[in-house]
């Protein structure tokens, strides 16, 4: 069945506005509806694998109207968004009982999913900005949801930095419109190809790198992430770290740089520098953390650095006119790491939420010996940590291997050495988590913690199973050809995006 593309945006939006109508008495009905909507989104996202379509809203043809584009890269991100949001919603049916105002939480969550779906599907650059803002504002409110001291401080910091980033993006959109006269991504690309880059467009590209880089938490712009992710409720941390920084930051950066502006050697080196800084700084800063979720947040910075490194390496090789097979290998590694990280980082954050709900603390020094009391949490945490540290045959190993092979084949040996070094750091930090949280002595105050049951357990086990199965995505041929290869192809033939869309109308 072919789903019309706007359904991905309209369904969570309609759910977001129907949920507050249930009121206090219908809380369980509201939660059931929200879960059904997210599971429906997973089914629809799976049904779009392997398709390439556009949809003109209101039957106004481009460049007069707005179109929605579904190509391989969008399909990959839709899968990631819907799977992580379904798991987070399942987890939060039980976890959010400790907060009041649950119906407002569900409404904001659905708005965030609407925003992310809209960013991923949009074919028009101002439409991308509007959905970016919807998702960002919903996430600012969700980070400060508990209204305690630290959450408000973190939410304010996140909001100020995020608003500045959005203003940069809007300024870039205004510059692009002033220089090309159109807002549709395909037409902008064609106009830039005909007229070439001038000073205004180069400045717009720098503004886009700064704005989307801040949303993606690359290193000079990462200051909001270590405060915002620990303070948010656990399912929101999973969504933020798992998909929001990637859908709003990395996807938008890829779309703008590869498909609209086209890559050059300078841009490739800038992206590789930012990525390497992120990887190294994130990993080193995470080693010294004693707060469970803060350690996971710094680890997120480092892993996003991997993704951007893969994309930047591919960009540099394309720009220098090198071997396209090596470039596509690097981009495949980056995109596969994006998908992997979405799954296992959300699983780790859900684990930390489960530990926090059982013990009431996030500090590693106050925990210990939870292995007997919470066996399921310990098992899923072990699977996720093994995957993130790159132990074969779990999924994380394959994506890191691909990036290392691509770096060696392109003869950038120092990049390969840094990747391996940061992997060792990642292994160390997760061994630290295990040693302090799950092994060791059980302190007096935690004698009667119990394992969390029900929907939380279900969500964590689903993600753990997916973690193990994702390794098959690379090895099994039909899965790779339908899910990963179209995404790589879209990024590789960057400027053909516009030719394909204009030819289709």
């Amino acid at each position: 069945m072919t789903v019309p593309l706007p359904v991905f945006v309209v369904l969570p939006l309609a759910a977001a506005f129907m949920l507050p109508l249930f009121g206090k008495k219908g809380k369980s009905a509201a939660t059931l509806l929200a879960n059904l909507v997210t599971i429906g989104l997973v089914v629809m996202a799976v049904s779009t694998i392997g398709q390439w379509r556009t949809y003109e809203v209101g039957r106004w043809s481009i460049p007069l109207g707005i179109n929605l584009v579904l190509d391989g890269l969008s399909c990959l991100l839709l899968l990631a968004i819907s799977v992580v949001s379904a798991a987070a919603m399942l987890f939060s049916t039980r976890y959010m009982e400790q907060y009041t105002a649950k119906s407002k939480y569900l409404c904001l969550f659905m708005l965030m999913v609407t925003g992310m779906n809209g960013v991923v599907l949009s074919g028009d650059i101002f439409n991308l900005f509007v959905f970016l803002e919807i998702a960002s504002i919903a996430s600012y409110a969700l980070v400060g949801f508990g209204c305690e001291h630290e959450e408000l401080e973190a939410s304010f910091k996140y909001m100020v930095l995020g608003s500045i980033a959005s203003m940069f993006v809007l300024f870039g959109v205004a510059l692009v419109y002033g220089n090309t006269g159109t807002l549709n991504m395909a037409y902008i690309s064609r106009t830039i190809g005909v007229r070439g880059m001038n000073l205004g467009l180069t400045f717009a590209m720098c503004l886009f790198i700064a704005g989307f880089g801040l949303k993606a938490a690359l290193v000079p712009f990462h200051a909001w992430l270590p405060d915002a992710h620990p303070s948010a409720p656990a399912p929101i941390s999973a969504m933020l770290s798992g998909v929001l920084i990637k859908a709003l930051g990395v996807y938008a950066l890829t779309r703008v740089l590869f498909n609209i502006f086209g890559v050059s050697v300078a841009v490739g080196w800038i992206i590789i520098t930012l990525a390497v800084l992120s990887m190294v700084c994130g990993a080193l800063l995470a080693l010294g953390q004693w707060d469970f979720k803060r350690l996971l947040a710094y680890s997120s910075i480092s892993q996003v650095g991997y993704v951007v490194l893969g994309l930047g390496l591919g960009a540099l090789i394309i720009a220098k006119g090198g071997n396209p097979a090596v470039a596509s290998l690097a981009i495949l590694g980056g995109l596969l790491h994006l998908l992997n990280h979405a799954v296992y980082k959300s699983l780790l954050f859900l684990n930390s939420g489960s530990v926090e709900m059982a013990t009431g603390t996030r500090q590693l020094k106050e925990m210990g010996g939870l292995a007997e009391k919470m066996p399921y949490t310990r098992a899923t945490c072990a699977i996720a940590s093994a995957s993130i540290a790159g132990i074969p045959p779990l999924a994380g190993f394959w994506s890191k291997l691909l990036i290392v092979i691509a770096a060696i084949q392109a003869e950038y040996y120092w990049i390969a050495a840094i990747v391996v070094g940061v992997s060792v750091c990642t292994l160390i930090m997760y061994l630290k988590v295990h040693r302090y949280a799950f092994l060791g002595e059980l302190p007096e105050s935690l004698k009667d913690v119990k394992e969390n049951k029900g929907s939380m357990l279900l969500a964590m086990s689903l993600l753990a199973v997916l973690c193990v199965l994702m390794g098959l995505l690379v090895i099994v041929e039909p899965l790779r050809a339908n899910v990963l290869e179209p995404a790589v192809k879209v990024v590789m033939d960057g400027l053909d995006y516009s030719a394909n869309i204009i030819a289709q109308k």
């Binding site: 001291h149 401080e153 304010f156 909001m159 500045i164 205004a174 419109y177």
Partner: protein
């Protein structure tokens, strides 16, 4: 030339958001940045001796077309639609920022960001 002044206003807003220590002044700095970008967007559509892009009965020709005099003289209406959307977005963002400022004042007792530093490391 007017574009350079818009950019100057943007930089002033950015300076205010980065340097000031009072939370409300930071919010005002972000607002000034948003005004600067909206102003820049509107000025993009300007034409010398332009008229407002509102169709009147006198601009409709027989057979349902639009007069040439209108099309060649009207300012561009697309940036105006973009600015309307951007103003709505900044209104929502401002409402959220102010409510967070109020709640932070209730919890910490001050608006000074150098004293609101519980999250470290």
């Amino acid at each position: 030339m007017p574009y350079a002044l818009c950019f100057l206003l943007f930089v002033i807003g950015l300076y205010c958001a980065v340097v000031k220590k009072n939370m409300v002044k930071i919010v005002v700095g972000i607002l000034v940045m948003e005004y600067a970008v909206n102003l820049f967007l509107i000025m993009l559509g300007y034409r010398w001796d332009g008229i407002a892009p509102i169709i009147d009965k006198s601009y409709l020709t027989k057979g349902g077309g639009i007069a040439e005099a209108f099309v060649s003289h009207a300012v561009d209406p697309l940036p105006q639609a973009l600015v309307l959307t951007a103003i709505v977005i900044s209104l929502g963002s401002l409402a959220l920022m102010i409510s967070i400022c109020i709640r932070t004042y209730e919890k910490y007792g001050t608006f000074d960001i150098t004293e609101i530093r519980r999250l470290k490391g």
